[in-house]
């Protein structure tokens, strides 16, 4: 039985069905037996009456003037007058089968017990009684057969059964009502919870309180509250980020506007040209900042379906370096890759590549012309190691933890970074289950070390 499909998935209907349907089944079995009982009772009563009536008739049979005289006493017939207009038939015959009185074609019934038979198109219930008559000789014992139509019998059975039926029905109905009342009471906290959740304004993520909630419902409420707390924390982080991002966009926008105004007012062609070139560079930086903001929002947990690409860090780094090479050459920076074979890791390929772009971009940005930037890859002890070293100004030890914070910029730094590059790196690396640390190469500058879990041995499909 699939009660789960009942109704429209209503808990109330389900519980009602689970209680009332079995109860109704039991009641049906009960009714069936009580009908059989009623019939048996009616049979018994009718049979006793038939035997009683036959005895009353038999006792009136006596020898008179050497012959058997059968006179039927009215009481023997009237005892069947129960108001159901039953017809009573009888026959009195000798042991030899000679008819003394009554209906000769009345069906015979066995001694002891009774039978049902059709007579004159009516079903009859018949009983036969043998009775010894003193002095009757071979005619004794006589046989008295009495039959009665079934109206009284059926009415009695019906009456007996109907009262049982009414009782059963009342029982099921009362049980149903109690189930409904119980459910209403039991489900009330759930309904209150529904109302509490439904009535909230969308921004209101305060914990729900449902007084009187049962121990079964309380975990649901707690889970709901914990979930809302998580959503709230995430929304708060998002809001902070957006506020910060808006804040960070304002200064570059002011710069663009200033450069444009300057160019518009300047009449000397050379200065104007210089302002326009600077304007172009500024808008490029702004575009890069917008791109980084987007990357960072994508790197946030929950904002992107987690991916488990198998990517080769060496290949990815090579690709990034090839893209960045023109910028390095232009600034006379020696950009190099040191690797000894593939370094496979599992993670989001796009984000891991973006992470390398940010590291290399940072290193180039803070390197002076003539400096060098080295990207080194190694795989050891189940760990992939990506190191990006530059010979720039480096980061003082006490600042190293802060530079991973979004929009954090070193005091006194002349270079106009967005303050997002390392934040992106950390977010991506931690999402991939790795860690990132800052250090100083022996030659000075900055060394960024990224460690990621190495992917399992090459399965030939990488």
């Amino acid at each position: 039985m699939r009660i789960g499909n009942l109704g429209i998935g209503s808990l109330r209907l389900q519980l009602l069905a689970w209680v009332v349907l079995p109860l109704a089944g039991l009641a049906a079995i009960n009714l069936w037996t009580s009908q059989r009982n009623a019939l048996a009772t009616a049979d018994l009563v009718t049979d006793r009456m038939l035997v009683g009536s036959a005895r009353a008739i038999a006792e009136q049979v006596a020898m008179a003037d050497g012959a058997l005289d059968a006179t039927v006493p009215p009481a023997a017939i009237e005892m069947f007058d129960t108001g159901d207009r039953d017809s009573v038939y009888y026959r009195v015959e000798t042991a030899g089968g000679r008819l003394l009185t009554g209906y000769p074609d009345l069906p015979a019934a066995p001694e002891r017990g009774s039978i049902e038979a059709a007579y004159r198109d009516h079903p009859l219930r018949l009983a036969t009684l043998s009775h010894a008559v003193i002095g009757a000789g071979t005619d004794s014992p006589i046989k008295v057969t009495v039959g009665v139509t079934l109206a009284g019998h059926d009415a009695m059975a019906k009456r007996l059964w109907l009262s049982a039926f009414a009782q059963q029905l009342a029982l099921v109905a009362i049980a149903g009502v109690f189930v409904l009342l119980g459910l209403r009471r039991g489900l009330a906290p759930l309904i209150r919870l529904r109302d509490a959740v439904r009535s909230r304004s969308r921004s209101d993520l305060d914990p729900v309180e449902v007084p009187g909630a049962q121990s079964e419902i309380r975990p649901l409420i707690e889970a709901l509250n914990a979930y809302m707390e998580r959503v709230r924390a995430q929304m708060a982080a998002q809001r902070r980020f957006i506020a910060n991002a808006a804040h960070q966009l304002r200064t570059p926008l002011a710069l663009l506007s200033t450069q444009a105004s300057y160019a518009l007012r300047e009449t000397a062609a050379a200065q104007r040209q210089e302002a326009l070139v600077a304007l172009q560079a500024s808008s490029g930086k702004l575009a890069r900042l917008a791109e980084q903001l987007l990357t960072l929002s994508r790197a946030e947990p929950g904002s992107r379906r987690p991916r488990a690409d198998r990517i080769d860090l060496t290949e990815a780094a090579r690709h990034v370096l090839e893209t960045q090479a023109p910028a390095a050459i232009e600034r006379d920076i020696d950009l190099g890759l040191e690797e000894n074979g593939p370094v496979p890791v599992i993670g989001d390929g796009t984000m891991l590549r973006e992470m390398i772009v940010n590291l290399v971009d940072n290193a180039l940005r803070y390197s002076k012309p003539g400096g060098s930037v080295t990207v080194k890859l190694a795989a050891a002890d189940g760990e992939a190691e990506l190191t990006v070293s530059d010979a720039g100004p480096g980061i003082p030890a006490e600042e190293r933890e802060h530079v991973f914070e979004r929009f954090y910029r070193l005091a006194g730094s002349a270079e106009e970074g967005s303050g997002l590059g390392l934040a992106i790196v950390r977010e991506v690396v931690e999402n991939a289950g790795g860690s990132v640390t800052l250090g100083e190469p022996a030659t000075g500058g900055l060394k960024v070390e990224v460690r990621l879990p190495l992917a399992a041995a090459d399965d030939g499909t990488a």
């Binding site: 804040h247 960070q248 304002r250 200064t251 926008l253 002011a254 710069l255 663009l256 506007s257 200033t258 450069q259 105004s261 300057y262 007012r265 300047e266 302002a275 600077a278 500024s282 910029r409 005091a411 006194g412 002349a414 106009e416």
Partner: protein, 225 residues
């Protein structure tokens, strides 16, 4: 007029000062809150444009210290935080005006003019001395109805004199007003600028008088009797 721009974003500071110099202001730039005090002591600036997000010492702290020392120099605060709270806090700490980034340079200039007029107790945008007029909005001088062509240095000297019209301006004060920190101040050059200005003002009803040991004074010729 010599202004002090305090802004840590070097590019913005660079281009903002260039644009203000286009409008004949003398502009000094510092990138750090801690440098403001020294700059002010050396430059006697007429106005400060102060960014709030500064490394080491924040703009709000700079402002607080400035006012605590009783320095009344007008301060226009620049900030990337345009919230009402921030604005009110800035004004309460003694800022004279508040401008949220990004802004149009025209608006910044208009606000600078308002503050400079206010500090010189004037409400009219045009200062006159005889037939010499200085329009503080266009920042142009005109003499007898015709625009007076001036080099930036001459402009700075004459502006200083016209703003203080009727009062003596010392040679040192003039020197401070016209040279920014990047230029080697040359007090003797002042005499050359004054000389050139006198030539350009010849035949008009204003003249620059020299008061030996005191300085210079812009004054109106008494109408010939």
């Amino acid at each position: 007029m010599r202004l002090l721009l305090v802004e840590d974003n070097r590019e913005l500071a660079d281009w903002l000062s260039k644009t203000l110099r286009q409008a004949s202001y003398v502009v000094d730039v510092v990138h750090d809150g801690e440098d403001v005090e020294h700059a002010l002591a050396a430059g006697d600036h007429a106005l400060i444009i102060l960014d709030l997000a500064l490394p080491r010492m924040g703009g709000m702290e700079v402002l607080k210290r400035l006012r605590a020392r009783g320095n009344p120099v007008p301060v226009i605060v620049l900030t990337a935080n345009a919230s009402l709270d921030g604005r009110v806090k800035g004004l309460n700490e003694g800022a004279d005006d508040y401008l949220a980034k990004p802004f149009q340079i025209e608006e910044l200039e208009a606000r600078i003019r308002v503050q400079l007029r206010r500090v010189n107790d004037r409400t009219a945008p045009v200062i006159s001395c005889g037939d010499l007029l200085f329009d503080t909005n266009t920042r142009l001088f005109s003499l007898a109805g015709a625009t007076l062509p001036l080099t930036p240095r001459e402009h700075a000297v004459l502006e200083q004199l016209v703003v203080k019209a009727g009062r003596t301006v010392s040679k040192a004060a003039l020197s401070t007003a016209i040279y920014d920190f990047e230029t080697d101040a040359d007090p003797s050059a002042i005499e050359i600028y004054v000389h050139r200005l006198r030539k350009k003002l010849e035949g008009s009803r204003v003249q620059i008088a020299t008061l030996r040991g005191l300085g210079y004074l812009l004054r109106q010729d008494d109408p010939a009797p």
